[in-house]
């Protein structure tokens, strides 16, 4: 191939493998796979530079269906494996596919440490609020009092809010989307792809076998506009079928839901600032869904990209030492310290 001819642009098909996809018919994972396969060709990255890493669980079968480099690792450890890949090859585009059990239960430790280090990974957390691959036990995101195979009288655990956890771990990019909101999901993935540091995306996903309707309160046509608020940077926080409700700051720093009437206008509402350097505002937003009358936010909560990536700092430190000391000389190293000659 001559340098003058460019390779043909990549298409969705280039990212599909010949492997039979083995998720249950109707699983939300299909929609996520399709969205990712659509977005990858648009990123201007060579196919061989993509690596998809996963742990264990239904979602973690993801790499087998992506025609890129792929590594299906062990339960919970994908962030750590991916960190090793990124440390050695910062030039690679590494995506992690994980689930609520994988990322928040067995792999919780790796998730928070990856985020606080700001490793340049894109993390897709498929949240269906259930253990699917082991056939239906409650997960760390299952609602309180959830009746499952392992909790016939209801679960007694309080759930994690993945977005709150990520923001609390000082993640520099945190977003949420939904399996069935295809265009929103693709947009969110593109935002994540554009972020240099750790990009954490919670994807609300249905498990039609073990937790059908996990997110129906958000996804059913009638509910959608009343219960979901879409976060868009620079735009006021408005929701409702008639776009007649919004989020307003109150003097103690908290927020409240207001109706846009009786003199309350858009200008009174919070204007979404995803680029705020501090995570406190994004954390406040992440708690809305737990409060009566508040909607559940989707979109980009936080996208603050001023923190250097972990792998860049690691490599820079090495380059700085080499620049200062010169490249290591093995004979000098072996002969370092106090030595003596035996004749």
């Amino acid at each position: 191939m001559s340098t003058a001819t460019l390779p043909p642009p990549l298409t969705k098909k280039d990212f599909q493998t010949d492997q039979e996809v083995r998720w249950c018919p109707g699983c939300g994972d299909y929609a996520i796979l399709s969205a990712v396969q659509s977005v990858f060709p648009e990123l201007g990255i060579k196919r061989e530079n993509f690596v998809v890493v996963s742990g264990i669980g239904c979602s973690s079968r993801f790499p087998y269906y992506m025609n890129t480099f792929g590594f299906h690792t062990i339960h919970g450890r994908a962030p750590a494996v991916a960190t090793g890949i990124k440390a050695i090859r910062p030039d690679l585009e590494v995506w992690v596919a994980t689930g609520d059990g994988d990322a928040l239960s067995i792999g919780g430790n790796h998730t928070i440490h990856m985020l606080r280090r700001n490793v340049g990974l894109k993390v897709l957390l498929f949240n269906n609020r259930i253990y699917g691959l082991t056939k239906g036990q409650y997960s760390p995101t299952s609602e309180f009092n959830k009746k499952t195979k392992s909790t016939p009288f209801g679960s007694v655990d309080r759930p994690f809010n993945p977005v709150s956890l990520a923001i609390g771990s000082e993640a520099t990019f945190v977003a949420r989307s939904v399996d069935v909101f295809q265009s929103h999901l693709k947009d969110t993935l593109k935002h994540a792809a554009a972020h240099k540091g750790s990009a954490f995306v919670e994807i609300l996903q249905n498990c039609n076998i073990f937790n059908d309707g996990a997110w129906f309160s958000l996804t059913e046509r009638d509910a959608r506009s009343e219960h979901v608020i879409q976060l868009e940077h620079g735009k006021p926080l408005i929701f409702g079928k008639n776009r007649d409700k919004g989020i307003r700051r109150i003097p103690d720093g908290d927020i409240e839901v207001v109706e846009l009437r009786n003199g309350i206008t858009e200008s009174d509402l919070v204007v979404h600032d995803a680029h705020h350097p501090r995570p406190s505002y994004a954390f406040l937003l992440s708690h809305m869904e737990h409060r009566p009358g508040f909607p559940t936010p989707i979109g980009v909560f936080r996208a603050w990209d001023d923190l250097p990536r972990y792998e860049d700092v690691m490599n820079q430190q090495i380059n700085d030492v080499i620049a200062k000391r010169g490249p290591g000389d093995l004979n000098k190293l072996l002969r370092a310290g106090d030595t003596w000659e035996v004749k």
């Binding site: 493998t17 492997q19 060579k46 196919r47 061989e48 530079n49 993509f50 690596v51 890493v53 996963s54 264990i56 790499p63 087998y64 025609n67 890129t68 480099f69 792929g70 590594f71 299906h72 690792t73 062990i74 450890r77 750590a80 494996v81 991916a82 960190t83 090793g84 890949i85 990124k86 440390a87 050695i88 090859r89 030039d91 690679l92 430790n109 790796h110 440490h113 690691m314 490599n315 430190q317 090495i318 030492v321 080499i322 000391r325 010169g326 490249p327 290591g328 093995l330 004979n331 190293l333 072996l334 002969r335 370092a336 310290g337 106090d338 030595t339 003596w340 000659e341 035996v342 004749k343």
Partner: protein, 621 residues
């Protein structure tokens, strides 16, 4: 022109072959520094040495108590040294607790230097002594020198204006100065060390130097010390030498392996005793492109290394037994995805947290079998501190050649012990350049599990290589294609291939050649850090006319191909180990040999005498 010189009549020098000296005190008394300074000095002079640092797990146990005692033993000689010595010629005890813990190892008529300033009522009580050993004649069989270390040190430093506590901290250097006089050694290298160590604290440079010189002069001046000793340099093979501990040697070995393979070195590690020093060492060498990653836990330490290896690095992870247990599942992943990786297990006493600072060899069966299902891993064991260098090279070479994780079994004794190392010329160490897969290996594309017929290694295609996109993972794979496959016969085939790949390494392992007698009345088969004690014992017993062979295994999995045949040449087989008989168990199972164990599980290395006693028992002499 001939002159008559007056020599101090009362003092004389005695030439001897070897000595064993032990410094013992509180964890905070600086015994490890004192011991390593004395070691450095005698090594630079040209003696052969072996050291045994022995310290508690607590950083500062309550001062003056028995659990707080820290010791450093050094054996130095004008001939070959194999062990730190069974018993000591000179014991320096900084307090009653140190005396009580160590005095049983002092030879009769041995030199005992004690800090008499720390034998007050309260000190004795902390050491659980009911009477003062300096007064109750319990030490009569030794040459006792009760020296007021604190008072004398303070007197020497009086003019510097230091507070009492700072002056007392210099008393170990007073004791060190005494030992330098006792063995006629120059203080120069320690002076250099003090100057470098305290370069920003000139007052402390002065204080420590003065304390050491005061100790030296004290021996010179006082009538109590009549004899000093001289131990001529050893006849070591010509070359340039340095002093090297096992953990340092591993670090240097991995840097060398990185250079020789052309691969970037990545270390994922989580701090754990006694392995942390490897991380400390390697983190200094960024000029060699070394990437060290202090992970959030032991699991992230190994899985980050697996990721780095997948991306094309020479990846290692370093730990001790408890960390090894946590890495188990990930090690199985490395076996399944056939990724090169070196795992260093610096063994310590167990189970569980066990004896963090004490040595043991009880992780052999864990290394062999400690994973779910059939997951064979090659195992390499260094025999001496400096041998850790070569073990690191060998393990790295095997890992990349066979695309397999390899375990190095070192232990606390090798890790912290030191010996003179003849420095190799780096240019003469063979390179083992690695070729990543660059293009498809079949007309139908790239198959990640299409193997090299010789080594059974699969190709190593790193991300970023155009056209070689492929998926790997922990699920069972189809032979050749690497696609997920649950078929019964394919699974059995893959299990057998993974086993055959590790077994195939035996083709290139050197045959076992017994040291000592090639056939005879007794064969000793052993591994790891017991090398020194066994070598010394076999040497001594053969000088008595006994016919003994000694095979010290570098490779524990697979074993040398001829080992079964060697075992048959001897009517009796002895397997000394610092465990309940783990190699013994393997040898009995594999070769159906009625081998006998010598097993010590005390957190301490074998003494030469213990091995000799067992040999004599078995030979009926």
């Amino acid at each position: 022109m001939a002159t008559i010189t007056e020599t101090p009549l009362s003092k004389h020098r005695e030439r001897i072959d070897q000595a064993v000296i032990r410094f013992a005190g509180d964890s905070g008394d600086g015994m490890q520094i004192t011991g390593s300074q004395f070691t450095n000095t005698v090594a630079l002079y040209g003696n052969d040495i072996a050291t045994f640092p022995d310290f508690p797990a607590e950083i500062r146990a309550p001062a003056g108590t028995l659990p707080g005692v820290s010791g450093y033993q050094l054996h130095f000689s004008s001939s070959d040294v194999y062990t730190p010595g069974d018993a000591v010629d000179v014991l320096i005890a900084m307090n009653p607790a140190a005396l009580k813990v160590n005095v049983a190892d002092l030879k009769a008529n041995g030199i005992l230097i004690v800090n008499s300033d720390s034998f007050k009522e309260m000190d004795l009580r902390k050491a659980q002594l009911t009477s003062n050993p300096l007064e109750d004649h319990s030490l009569d069989k030794f040459r006792l020198f009760a020296v007021e270390l604190e008072r004398l040190t303070r007197a020497a430093l009086d003019h510097l204006g230091l507070d009492a506590k700072s002056m007392d901290r210099c008393k170990n250097f007073f004791a060190l100065g005494m030992c330098y006089w006792l063995y006629n050694r120059s203080m120069d290298s320690t002076v250099r060390w003090i100057e470098a160590k305290f370069k920003n604290k000139p007052l402390l440079v002065e204080a420590n130097k003065l304390a050491m010189k005061a100790g030296y002069s004290y021996c010179e001046a006082t009538e109590a010390f009549q004899i000093s000793y001289e131990i001529p340099p050893a006849q070591l093979a010509p070359g340039l030498y340095r002093n090297l501990s096992g953990n340092q040697a591993l670090a240097l070995g991995f840097i060398t392996a990185s250079q020789k393979s052309g691969l970037r070195l990545f270390q994922g590690s989580y701090p754990i005793t006694p392995a942390s020093d490897i991380l400390h060492e390697l983190s200094q060498y960024k000029d060699f492109g070394v990437m060290t990653f202090q992970a959030e836990d032991e699991i992230a330490a190994i899985t980050s290394a697996i990721g780095a290896a997948y991306a094309g690095a020479l990846a290692i992870t370093t730990t001790s037994g408890p960390g090894m247990a946590l890495k188990t599942e990930a090690l199985g992943l490395a076996v399944a995805v056939e990724i090169p990786l070196v795992v260093c297990d610096i063994q310590r006493g167990g189970p569980s947290t066990g004896l963090p600072t004490k040595t043991e060899q009880a992780d052999l069966l864990q290394a062999m079998f400690g994973r779910n299902s059939e997951a064979p891993v090659p195992i390499v064991a260094p025999a001496t501190p400096s041998d850790c260098f070569w073990a690191a090279l060998e393990a790295s070479r095997l890992a990349v050649k066979y695309m397999v994780p390899v375990i190095i079994l070192s232990d606390g004794y090798l890790a912290n012990g030191a010996e003179p190392w003849r420095i190799p010329n780096a240019d003469e160490i063979p390179a083992f350049p690695v070729q990543f897969a660059k293009e498809a290996n079949s007309p139908n594309g790239y198959f990640p599990y299409k193997r090299d017929p010789q080594t059974l290694a699969r190709p190593w295609a790193v991300p970023g290589t155009p056209g070689l996109e492929h998926r790997i993972g922990g699920l069972e794979k189809q032979d050749v294609t690497g696609n997920i496959n649950y078929e019964p016969l394919n699974h059995e085939k893959m299990v057998r291939i993974r086993a055959a790949k590790v077994a195939a390494i035996a083709q290139e392992i050197p045959d076992a050649v017994p040291a000592g007698d090639p056939d005879g009345d007794l064969l000793i088969v052993a591994w790891g850090s017991t090398y020194g004690a066994i070598t010394a014992a076999v040497k001594a017993q053969r000088e008595e006319g006994r016919r003994i062979g000694h095979v010290h295994l570098r490779h524990l999995n697979p074993l040398p191909a001829n080992l079964g045949e060697v075992i048959k040449r001897y009517p009796q087989v002895l397997v000394p180990e610092l465990n309940m008989g783990q190699l013994l168990w393997l040898l009995r199972a594999k070769y159906l040999v009625d081998a006998v164990g010598l097993n010590k599980i005390q957190g301490r290395p074998f003494k030469q005498a213990e091995v000799e006693q067992k040999i004599e028992d078995m030979l009926g002499v």
